[in-house]
Amino acid sequence: MTTATETIEGFVKSEYKYGFFTDIESDSAPPGLNEDIVQFISTKKNEPEFLLEWRLKAYRHWLKMEEPKWPKVSYPKIDFQKIVYYSAPKRKGDGPKSLDEVDPKLLETYEKLGIPLRERGRLAGVAVDAVFDSVSVATTFKGTLAAKGVIFCSFSEAVHEHPDLIKKYLGSVVPYTDNFYAALNSAVFSDGSFCFIPKGVRCPMELSTYFRINAANTGQFERTLIVAEESSHVSYLEGCTAPMRDENQLHAAVVELVALDNAEIKYSTVQNWYPGDEEGRGGIYNFVTKRGLCKGRKSKISWTQVETGSAITWKYPSVVLQGENSTGEFYSVAVTNNYQQADTGTKMVHVGKNTRSTIISKGISAKHGQNSYRGLVKIQKGATGSRNFSQCDSLLIGNKCGAHTFPYIEVKNTSSSVEHEATTSKIGEDQIFYCNSRGIETQDAVNMIVNGFCKEVFKELPMEFAVEAQKLLGVSLEGSVG
């Protein structure tokens, strides 16, 4: 019997250990954004005409939009003309055909990050797509997956190899008009991952994408698109890290999920972008749009996120429950330590009859961290017999941090029900002393209490990553007390 908290003993005591920089020659666009840059990216990637047009439409639309002001986060105005929108490690010819052709420096980088790209070792049961700055540098286990008809490749490759699928689904869940950052992403996105699970197939392994920002002054704008056909099943995980730098860097991704009849997509995130230092210098601005469409009957989409990194996090992984009897879930742990700010939550939009959604959100704030849960539960008129359950718990460590909850509920019929529970608790000196007096050190006591608090979310993560996530949480909260 192992409980969720049992692995904490192995907690590593260290600072942000992914803060190194890989010195690799890169091919970059000049800083700034205009139609030429959009064109440049599209040309670099040798894209078909339809995609360039779509990008340009997105760009023109973006020019008319304003940055959202409603999140409870504050940061100096971003100068979009100072950002580099494309940066890729230099490579010869068309890029690597196999892992043997990947620059050894890159393989070494991922090795150091604990993500070996060789198809054996610790992650032997997980297929990885590695995205370095603006491009995907390698995807593992393609052969094994292809045998089952599963497509797992970089977005760029999908554009060339499966243009019909891209045309059909790109922007179908998050249109470029959706919001400021989604529009920006649509104009300049450079790569990302694409997964397609054909009808009736249970994906034989975990799929994962590992995002790494390396170059300075570069924004990362990637897109992920996952399509699960009828009665298929896939579990997907993304991880993220970046070097330590005093300047802030922008990461604005878009993720779209589509689940057809009886299909199930489980999407897990372990987000550990560089959070900035103790004084709040540097760190990633993580402004992300994630949405899933439960298009088919009895389909299911489940988001699980462990957000420990980033200076600012702004994301609301959502589910549109269109198919009758479909299910949406959101499980979240968000940590804000030092000067980190997070405004995160979800949207569950019930469109079809008898749809169900569950929201479990755990916010942890320490030092000067500010953590907001923002969630919308919308039950439309036609979504009769629908149900939502939301639980938002906040845990405070110390007196200078803050937790805020902004639940929005709209119910347009009388046969549906919505339940919302919220709690705020604090790790008290009494609890710490009680643990101390039983021989347990303060940091271990904090980890124990925090892990207990997050148990319900951790149990939703794939096994291999639940342990990682716990360790990460311990490291993120290092020195949060005393």
Binding site: T2, R438, E441
Partner: protein, 256 residues
């Protein structure tokens, strides 16, 4: 030769400028059971908290030695690992952390400290099963979060259960009897008595004589207004029960 476990000399301590302990002297040797009695507010819990290492007290004078070592120099967790145990007057709730996990971590900290291998889940369960029976604890007890939603009596039994599992050298019980009915009191006392050996000691803090019918002390000390004003055998407890604390105070005033 019996070794002294705890030696408190002339302990003066306070909180936020308020003097609470005003020259406490106490010596506890292996195999002994000491009781500290005294009215509310006399400083009993303060003494217990200082022994366990709670922060926030200023020690203005005096010393505490534990097996010859300066106790005040040790962190609370180091004290625990070396065998000091405090059964709290008001045990704290730790929601989300299950009792098994918590207690296993505590046991393994002590084992690590003593250079022993850590217990795995099975070994730990074997260790605690028997001890749960001594304290009449329900089966599901280990799965519940530490003290969360426990009744007052359950919390106290949990303290003694932890004590029995950790097998300390110096057990300090702060008003473990308060809030217990007579049956629970018997169960808890049986737990405490099981622990008693020739190489450890117990310091039982209580407001009422009642507990001392079941846990028989070798010495009874009366703490009044931050000082031990009288020490005697177990018969002193009975006398206090009959006559209250006032007569001691009067005698004190006369001799002063």
């Amino acid at each position: 030769m019996k070794q002294p476990i705890l030696e408190i000399t002339n302990l003066h301590a306070g909180v936020e400028g308020k003097q609470i302990l005003k020259g406490v002297n106490l010596r506890i040797t292996e195999g002994e059971v000491h009781a500290i009695m005294g009215p509310n507010g006399s400083g009993k819990s303060t003494l217990a908290a200082i022994l366990a290492g709670r922060e926030g007290y200023s020690i203005t004078e005096g010393q505490i030695h534990y097996y010859g070592k300066d106790l005040l120099e040790m962190s609370p967790e180091a004290r625990a690992r070396e065998g000091v145990f405090l059964a709290f007057q008001y045990p704290v709730e730790i929601p989300g952390v299950n009792t098994t996990y918590f207690l296993k971590a505590a046991v393994n900290e002590v084992r690590k400290h003593n250079g022993l291998s850590e217990y795995d889940a099975m070994e730990f369960l074997n260790l605690v099963k028997e001890k749960m029976k001594i304290l009449h604890l329900p089966e599901d007890f280990l799965k519940r979060p530490v003290n969360a939603g426990f009744s007052g009596g359950e919390k106290k039994r949990n303290e003694i259960f932890q004590m029995v599992v950790l097998d300390p050298k110096l057990a300090i019980l702060d008003e473990t009897d308060s809030g217990l009915d007579i049956d629970a009191l018997k169960v808890v006392s049986a737990g405490v008595n099981k622990l008693k050996r020739q190489d450890n000691a117990q310091l039982v803090i209580t407001h009422y004589q009642r507990l001392l019918d079941y846990i028989i002390p070798d010495f009874v000390h009366v703490l009044f207004n931050g000082e031990i004003v009288r020490t005697g055998g177990k018969e002193l407890a009975l006398e206090l029960e009959e006559r209250g604390y006032d007569w001691i105070l009067k005698e004190e005033l006369q001799t002063a």
